[in-house]
């Protein structure tokens, strides 16, 4: 039961991420979701807990990630630590988010 939009109407995280600077390690995403039939409750929750909105449901009801806007906070790692559905690493040195203010 995902109510992301109903719970926060009109808030587009993409517009917020647009302020940030990133050096994307093209073709080498630092976070991966393992193949699954049905996502666990924990994995499903990432579609609204991720502060960068990196996680979304596909047509088959599986959770997918686009890590380009990732701020490397680690929330998804902590939430799915028990289920092991997310493989999480820091980006290679120098890549990823570059905070100007932090």
């Amino acid at each position: 039961m995902i109510q992301t939009e109903a719970a926060t109407p009109g808030v587009k995280v993409e517009e917020k991420l647009f302020f940030n600077r990133y050096l994307v390690d093209a073709g080498r995403p630092h976070i991966k979701v393992l193949p699954h039939e049905t996502p666990s409750k924990a994995l499903l929750s990432l579609t609204y807990t991720c502060p960068a909105g990196c996680y979304a449901l596909n047509d088959k009801g599986q959770v997918e990630i686009t890590a380009d806007g990732c701020m490397e906070c680690g929330t998804c790692r902590v939430v799915t630590a028990k289920t092991g559905e997310v493989v999480w690493n820091y980006p290679r040195g120098g890549f990823g988010v570059l905070y100007k203010f932090g």
């Binding site: 039961m1 995902i2 109510q3 992301t4 109903a6 719970a7 926060t8 808030v11 995280v13 917020k16 991420l17 302020f19 940030n20 050096l23 924990a42 929750s45 609204y48 807990t49 502060p51 960068a52 909105g53 701020m71 490397e72 906070c73 680690g74 929330t75 790692r77 902590v78 939430v79 630590a81 690493n89 820091y90 980006p91 290679r92 040195g93 120098g94 990823g96 988010v97 570059l98 905070y99 100007k100 203010f101 932090g102």
Partner: protein, 435 residues
């Protein structure tokens, strides 16, 4: 680099890592500091308040060239419902002192400055380098690290893990358990820019005076968490954070939605009017306190800062604990080095003894029951703020009703919503957790 051997390797260039690297390098140790960001600070997020006392003990004259924003002369604590807040505030001319006690800072700028000091003290700081694992000898003693630069190995007598809240290296090396969603908070924050005159008139400030607002209540939609708003010279840091498990179990509230609602609260919105947002950031905060702390040292390794859960969630202190633990770990290492003693678990226990003597462990221990209290008492964030603001409105609105009736109504509202036993119980549990 491969063939070189260092006295100490420090993983991470945040406040704890910088404090440790600076202290050791200044005492002549051969120090290598590894940072995964392009520059120190590029991955670091904080509100941010700098506590002068902790930094003074490391760099006494830091005020001469550190990038400081405003010194804090006023603290506002707000308990909020959807339309109002009941506040407590403290402002004093005493905070306009020669050496102010707290400053707002912008971390990316501050961390660059601190890192420059570390390099000037003689440490080698290598950025864009992520540590992937700790290296151990046959006896299990940590003897160096492997990095993601061609899987290079670098050796050292001791490794200081100042890697921050996620503690990935320590966890993957089996030194510490995984973080729990119940004991870590997710905070999101925006930087809003305004001309400094506007900030000064809006917050009743002159010169470099600053105000901080800490807020709790229905702004976190029943989740355990707080909001904040800090004045910088030409910007305002505004953010909100809640325990990760609360976000995950609360059925669809997004962190950015929560932040947007906080910014649009009628008491916050005018403070941010006409500002330009230039950055959106997120970070985890270790909030588990004393009971969630991992082992802090072992054969050849020592943990400092957020990686060791050194955050006083009640007082919103963290960077001072980070700097102090970094300094105490470094002083322990320097002393052992001078005496040519081994960096064994037994010898590094001196670090723990130093921590116990200072405010660090005393405060961590004092509040050890608070995380559990808050976790099991959501009324603190939802019901009580509404009762307080309702009482305030009833008390201050002049509407022909006599005061005795108003008093009775306020008392009844508390009793009806939380029963006498509940009220007394909450107060008793809080008092016990606070001791």
């Amino acid at each position: 680099m491969v063939d070189e051997h260092f006295d100490a390797i420090v993983i991470g260039a945040g406040p704890s890592g910088n404090a440790a690297a600076y202290t050791m390098a200044k005492e002549g140790l051969k120090v290598l500091q590894l940072e995964r960001g392009e520059y120190p600070g590029s991955k670091n997020v904080q509100g941010a308040i700098l506590y002068a006392d902790a930094l003074e003990k490391i760099i006494p004259d830091f005020r001469e060239d550190a990038p400081l924003e405003r010194h804090v002369i006023e603290q506002r604590m707000w308990t909020m419902d959807d339309k109002s807040f009941v506040g407590m505030q403290y402002r004093s001319e005493d905070f306009n002192e020669e050496k102010p006690n707290r400053y707002t800072i912008i971390r990316a700028q501050f961390d660059k400055w601190f890192s420059r000091k570390v390099r000037e003290a003689g440490a080698i700081v290598l950025c864009e380098t992520t540590v992937t694992e700790l290296l151990r000898n046959a006896k299990g003693k940590v003897i160096g690290v492997r990095t993601d630069r061609n899987s290079e190995r670098v050796m050292a007598d001791v490794v200081v893990l100042a890697e921050g809240v996620n503690g990935l290296v320590g966890h993957r090396s089996g030194l510490r358990p995984e973080l729990q969603p119940e004991t870590v908070a997710l905070a999101v924050k925006e930087m809003h820019f305004l001309p400094r005159e506007v900030i000064e008139s809006r917050f009743n400030l002159k010169g470099d005076e600053g105000v901080v607002i800490e807020a709790m209540g229905t702004i976190t939609k029943g989740m355990t968490g707080t909001g904040f708003l800090y004045t910088n010279q030409e910007s305002i840091s505004v953010g909100i954070g809640c325990i990760v498990s609360d976000f995950a179990e609360n059925g669809g509230i997004t962190p950015y939605g929560l932040l947007e609602a906080f910014k649009n609260h009628p008491s916050i919105k005018p403070l941010l009017a006409d500002s330009e947002c230039k950055e959106y950031a997120s970070h985890l905060i270790p909030e588990g306190g004393y009971n969630a702390m991992p082992e802090l040292f072992g054969d050849g390794w020592i943990i400092v800062g957020d990686a060791g859960q050194f955050v006083n969630a009640v007082h919103r202190e963290g960077s001072n604990l980070a700097m102090t633990t970094g300094r105490l770990a470094a002083e322990t290492i320097v002393r052992l080095k001078r005496r040519r003693e081994e960096f064994s678990k037994v010898n590094l226990a001196a670090y723990r003894a130093r921590l116990d003597e200072t405010f660090v462990m005393k405060d961590m221990k004092k509040y050890r029951k608070i995380p559990g209290y808050l976790h099991n008492n959501r009324h603190v964030f939802n019901l009580y703020p509404k009762l307080f603001t309702g009482a305030a409105q009833s008390w201050f609105r002049v509407d022909g009703k006599d005061k005795l009736t108003k008093e009775k109504e306020i008392f009844t509202s508390f009793r009806k919503n939380r029963s006498l036993i509940g009220l007394v119980g909450d107060a008793f549990k809080l008092a016990r957790a606070w001791r």
